[in-house]
Symmetry: C2
Subunit: 578 residues, 2 copies
């Protein structure tokens, strides 16, 4: 994993492949690498769909090793949704396989000179790029089937659906899981649109005959991994809650806390929550012959995923995540879990961000386009997106665009990106992250919910402004570092509570690379990443005025706690003063 | 004209009217007043369609007097299109009548608590506000007919069409002309959407029994006006070119100069230009029993407007302006003048900005939605806008939204607002104005075309970067001042070339108000206005990075001169260093 694969899609005579050493990017992986490349090589004022933007796909520092949970893939570019820097992060097999193939990053550059659609095939023998216009507008599931027919079952696919080809702001890059299903997505910020603008439909990875990456100190590495796995297994969130109920364990928790955004952020509790909770979901999955405990990539011990079958026991979708259940559930006033799973599948298939789309449907409901809770109408609308009708073009470009199109005032976005599943008035720490993250509203950028609601890493009252800035700051720094390791963010629960598990992570990095990294080094890495991202955004035109929630969170009280977002603007501006 | 009329549309129990003295706003009129109110009273981060935004409608300092050309009306708010401050400026009878009724401004505040649509009637007896939902979705022409039936022929209407009701980013506020036709528009930046968000369909003004505003020194004022009219009549642009051919006299001039944007800014000359030139237009109008020389308000001596009839001699539209002819002509590769007049009428009727819409149609053509030059398809699309279909919602929100929806990269906008009819590569001075204006791309904010192309106010080579920043700066300052007087901007040609005509303007102001204003005072006023606007925009999140043209103007050469925009970013940042 010591080389970068560059593909200039706009080269004279067709795509030109080159390989180079990491060079100035040595020591960076995952988000650190994607953000370094974007901030160094992409003009901040370029058009996100233009030749000057670059799409950077990078496994983490520990991806492709035996280290458990190291399968996260970072995808970076200038975002078509936010206009700022973007790192979208996906599970699935992509990171492990790409790392084992020896690539620290794939960088797609330029823009094809015509409308051809390309397939990129990478294996131990090298890189093959071919035009394949027969793939045009294939949904992800069909596309992957076709790739299996062409390349066998030992592949991993990174692909875009119709949404990416249509360059929609909610378009994702799908990554196949262990079952070779396109269920994992670099979801946020329209990274799929950038891949579409590069004319690349699919990157097929085949790691046949390629070995696991060797650590500098194999013994120490093995021992560290043992401690690591033990730590993850003993923490109640990563060892019990997530395996048993998946991320959707949060529905009842957030609903109880009054922080479950309902009817487009009008209230913090949803009547129908019990019907779509993780508990109900796990029970339904098990009863129908699906699975409630499953990993999304080899080497996962948390196993927060699952399989959701329909009433007849046929595969409907992978287990929808909490955010997806919420965005198509409470946000839309819908408590039909089967319909939610159906929408999860449709969005995976078209290649759409489930958070952005669910929030968008809620905004469309507020705008009177369909009735609250009308899941069948919502499903019809998603098909409009897949077909690229004018209505679909609006919805597929996300909540902000939908609000604009239909004159809706209450649009829950920051920097143009939809808010996830935690009301920032009832969980004020996550509000600070939404407002100030370099990524637009993003719960994964600094998951203050852990401390505000779950009591992980201490306790900060979720309803009060005090302590939230410091909490979000520390989490944003730590997250930027974790996102660079290739580690799944859910490890955060264990490393925040258990010093020995955090030490095991350091030991993994040190044993693998022969380093002497300590906690301070991790913090420095996180700060370095955030600084690069903030610099890019400033040059792209972002100011402190963009580090704000929509004003209605300051003026409209959310029941049941009847609170507004109370963190002051001047305090938001201190998040990055370290 | 010493009082402000405030109407709180969101008051408990229905709209609440109050009147107040000018107070801290004394000495301001027109754009100075709208920008003062917006910058002082509107939270820069508010939602443009929300209760916190305000719509300010203000005649100029000399409106309502006998001073010739003083009929311009300023409409200000936070713009739904740009997200920044907005002053859109209209001819027609509105300014004169409102000023004579004694109002320095109408300020619409708040937001109605339900969906009712309101009519506001103002005459010498006061203000009457009534709900009239029968007006819903009426196009402007039909609406005005209805108002004539209700209130007689001695009225002036300020109204929104369906576009404003649907809160579209291209929605205008129409102002009736001397024939009581809704042909004049506060066009740019979506001011009509803000009126729509306030629930106001129409403001009917009746100045029956109201007198001309009396100057402090009537004799001096009369004498100054004589000099003023003489100066306007003797300048070749205001005395000959504009009266004979209207603003469309520019088609041949810009086409010859290679600065006529064609096929969505792909080339600087259009094959079909002669067919849609001002000369052809005037000839056509005269031959069909229309008129090529006509004023848009009482007291106009330039008479740049006219009447465009169809082949059978029936009214088709008022004489389309140069910008309209261009945006539906060269921008779209269309040389059918009758179709252009038809689109002008349709847009006036639905209440749409003709610049934004024409540019949008060109972007849609680039995106493959319709063929270059297909005027009939363009007309169909405009009806989609009027009907508010999803496609219409996209188009009616302008070029930036349309580019986003259909993944088009070449979108000629600054701050979200479409570029007018001068290619910034071939007319680099106007490029500086487009980039840096507080308004988004706006030719009227500092009309460097005058000096670059027409040789008015000196000569600066249009193809070179040298001297453009200073030119644009001086023009932006002067324009901000002129926009505050109520004077039509076309007076600029005469005052730039003829010192005695500029003096006549100062004399008019001094004689009317009993002032001792000199040239320095005018410059100070202009700077004050720009500073307020820049401050608002900074607080709304605008930085120097927003004072830029889209990057393709720097990278794509435009024929026939094969030039790019060469003014450096650091020089753009000096425009407001005075």
């Amino acid at each position: 994993m010591d080389k970068i694969l560059r593909i200039d899609m706009g080269a004279e005579g067709g795509p030109r492949v080159s390989e180079e050493a990491l060079g100035a990017y040595a020591g960076f992986g995952g988000r650190a690498l994607t953000s370094a490349v974007v901030s160094k090589e992409v003009p901040p004022l370029c058009h996100p769909l233009g030749a000057e933007n670059k799409l950077v796909i990078a496994p983490g520092l520990l991806s492709g090793t035996i280290a458990s949970m190291s399968g996260r893939l970072s995808v970076g570019c200038k975002s078509p949704l936010t206009g700022g820097i973007k790192e979208a992060n996906s599970g699935g097999q992509g990171a492990q396989v790409l790392a084992r193939l020896g690539y620290a990053a794939i960088i797609l550059e330029g823009k094809p000179q015509n409308d051809d659609l390309y397939k990129i095939f990478i294996n131990a023998d090298g890189v093959k790029i071919s035009v394949d216009n027969s793939l045009r507008m294939l949904p992800n599931y069909d596309l992957v089937e076709k790739m299996k027919q062409q390349h066998g079952e030992k592949i991993t696919c990174l692909s875009i659906g119709p949404a990416g080809e249509m360059k929609m702001g909610a378009a994702t890059i799908a990554v196949t899981d262990m079952e070779l299903r396109p269920t994992r997505h670099a979801g946020r910020g329209g990274v799929g649109a950038v891949m579409g603008a590069k004319g690349v439909k699919v990157i097929v990875l085949d790691d046949t005959g390629v070995k696991m990456r060797p650590p500098k100190d194999p013994e120490k590495f093995k021992e560290a991994n043992k401690q690591w796995v033990e730590g993850l297994k003993k923490h109640p969130v990563t060892g019990q809650g997530l395996p048993a109920y998946g991320t959707n364990v949060l529905t009842n928790v957030l609903n109880e806390a009054g922080g479950y955004p309902t009817y487009n952020f009008k209230q913090g509790r949803f009547d129908g929550a019990a019907k779509i909770s993780g508990e109900t979901q796990a029970e339904t999955e098990t009863a129908r012959g699906g699975s409630a405990t499953h990993g999304c990539h080899r080497g996962c011990v948390i196993q927060c995923s699952g399989t959701y079958n329909d009433k007849d026991g046929h595969f409907l979708s992978k287990q929808p995540e909490y955010e997806t259940v919420w965005s198509h559930g409470g946000q839309c006033g819908n408590s039909d879990l089967d319909a939610i799973a159906q929408m999860d599948f449709i969005e995976d298939n078209y290649g759409l961000d489930t958070i952005e789309m669910g929030v968008t449907l809620g905004v469309a409901m507020e705008g009177g386009l369909l009735k609250w809770g009308d899941a069948q109408a919502a499903i019809s609308m998603l098909h409009e997106v897949g077909k690229g009708t004018p209505l679909g073009r609006i919805l597929g470009n996300g909540a902000a665009m939908t609000g604009r199109a239909f004159g809706v005032e209450r649009v829950p976005v920051v920097k143009g990106q939809a808010l996830p599943a935690y009301d920032p008035r009832a969980v004020q720490g996550i509000g600070v992250t939404y407002a100030t993250s370099t990524m637009g509203a993003d719960h994964t950028a600094g998951y203050a919910v852990a401390t505000n609601i779950l009591g992980v890493g201490g306790k900060v009252d979720p309803l009060k402004p005090e302590g939230q800035v410091e909490l979000s700051r520390n989490l944003q720094i730590a997250t930027a570092a974790v996102d660079s390791t290739g580690m799944c963010l859910f490890i955060a629960f264990a490393i925040m509570d258990q010093p020995e598990t955090f030490q095991a992570l350091l030991d993994l990095l040190n044993a693998f690379y022969g380093l002497n990294l300590n906690a301070d080094g991790v913090v420095e890495l996180g700060k370095t990443v955030l600084k690069m991202e903030r610099d890019f955004n400033a040059k792209a035109g972002f100011t402190s005025e963009h580090d704000r929630l929509p004003r209605f969170f300051k003026t409209e009280k959310v029941p049941p706690h009847d609170v507004v977002f109370e963190v002051k603007d001047e305090d938001l501006d201190k998040v990055f003063n370290w």
